[in-house]
């Protein structure tokens, strides 16, 4: 294996989403956006909904990751995502609907905190999906 590459595995509960070799991985963690090259220090970080970009030999691949965490070792990165989607698996109209619903709920005066949190998460997910769908 060349030095500037690492093994990447993205696993979701219902399938192994992606396995392969990549030279760089970009994604969103709870601490902000992150770009990871090979030989990164060992790190475990928590994911937030966002678009993840996989840089591999043939070019770049995009995927939406919602919630989960990432484990980075020297030459191997494992992403455990609760939901992972490729651009062509996303129903843009549905995501758009979800966005409108979530925005309505958020603007409709915070009655209960739990619901607000949920709506916020739903909005983030919807925005990620829309962003990804437009990206391709």
């Amino acid at each position: 294996m060349a030095d500037n590459k690492f093994k990447l595995e993205i696993i979701s509960p219902d399938r192994v989403f992606y396995t392969g070799e990549a030279s760089m991985l970009e994604l969103n963690t709870s601490e902000g956006q992150m770009g990871i090259y090979a030989n990164h220090i060992p790190l475990t970080a928590v994911l937030v909904p966002g678009i993840c970009t996989i840089h591999e030999d043939g070019g770049e691949k995009y995927a939406a990751l919602h919630a989960g965490f990432i484990e980075i070792l020297k030459d191997k990165i494992t992403v455990l995502a609760e939901i992972a989607e490729w651009p062509d698996e996303i129903d843009k109209n549905r995501a758009e609907e979800a966005r409108i619903r979530a925005e309505r709920r958020l603007s409709g005066a915070g009655e209960e905190n739990v619901n607000m949190l949920r709506a916020e998460m739903a909005l983030k997910r919807a925005l990620t999906r829309i962003g990804l769908a437009e990206h391709k």
Binding site: P13, D14, V16, S30, P42, T44, A45, F69, T78, I83
Partner: protein, 285 residues
């Protein structure tokens, strides 16, 4: 001896039952294959989750963490996974027995049930049922596992119960399934520590460890529940396939012995008729 007509009728009824059990067996076989692939697909996620959590806990040392110690309440929550339909041999009753025959007293148990059969059997015996998620067992999704997990974690944090267990049938292979009662919370640290492979890479956490644990432990619980759900579905169909297979072969046995009886009765009636004719002819001459 039963009359020819009775035997014939009996035989036909068994034959049609046999046809039904045979069809059910085929359906269960197909469903089993599907459920099995799903169970296998979820395995890598779960395995990795397990090693990550185990190594995290091994490194954090003896911290005073909410998910590592039992709550003050004496009550224990059990998530019971059974099926919505019967005719699966001992599948459902084995799980029920696990609860009723266990050493946790009935008054201390709070149940969260998945599957009508288990819910009905246990509520009839007077167990407290706090939540029911029976509609998810047909096709369990990860979000279903999250819903159940959220409900029990909420109860745990509110100190409604001090420990959480999971009762399900684990799927070893097509013919062997084992009812299991595993402890979800508090996490058994010694068990988790042993299995970590002792690699001493210094892992950094972002956010810091306890905060990361706050996020990762619930996910670990959800993945355990999800794993149990998909395995239970595979076991259910495996159990049904076996039960229906033996029912079909029993029906075949009964049909062959009834055929024998029927032929004997037919031969008997022919012999009797002949004797009567001969006796009649003799009387005339």
């Amino acid at each position: 001896m039963a009359s020819m007509r009775d035997i014939k009728r009996r035989k036909e009824s068994i034959q049609s039952t046999g046809q039904i059990t045979k069809a059910m067996k085929l359906v269960a076989t197909v469903k089993l294959q599907k459920a099995r692939t799903r169970a296998e697909m979820s395995k890598p996620y779960f395995d990795h989750m397990y090693t990550t959590v185990a190594s995290m806990l091994a490194k954090t040392g003896d911290i005073d963490y909410k998910y590592l110690k039992a709550g003050n309440s004496k009550k224990k929550a059990i998530i019971v996974i059974t099926s919505n339909r019967g005719l699966a041999g001992g599948y459902n009753s084995n799980i029920t027995k696990l609860i009723t025959g266990g050493d946790i007293p009935k008054e201390d148990i709070v149940l969260y049930t998945v599957g009508n059969k288990g819910k009905d059997a246990l509520s009839r015996r007077g167990y407290t049922i706090a939540g029911d998620y029976s509609d998810v067992i047909n096709e369990p999704l990860y979000t279903d596992a999250m819903n159940i997990g959220e409900a029990v974690l909420k109860g745990f944090e509110a100190d409604e119960f001090g420990e959480i267990y999971l009762a399900y049938t684990s799927f070893k292979n097509t013919v062997s399934h084992e009812p299991k009662l595993v402890k979800l919370l508090p996490i058994d640290k010694s068990a988790a520590g042993e299995s970590s492979d002792g690699d001493l890479t210094l892992m950094n956490y972002e956010p810091e460890e306890t905060q990361a644990l706050d996020v990762i432990i619930p996910k670990y619980i959800y993945s355990l529940i999800y794993g149990a759900l998909v395995e239970a579905v595979a076991s259910e169909n495996g159990a049904r396939m076996q039960a229906m297979d033996s029912a079909t072969s029993n029906a075949d046995d009964m049909i062959s012995s009834l055929t024998l009886m029927y032929n004997r009765a037919r031969q008997g009636s022919i012999t009797q008729e002949l004797t009567e004719i001969i006796a009649g002819a003799e009387a005339i001459s």
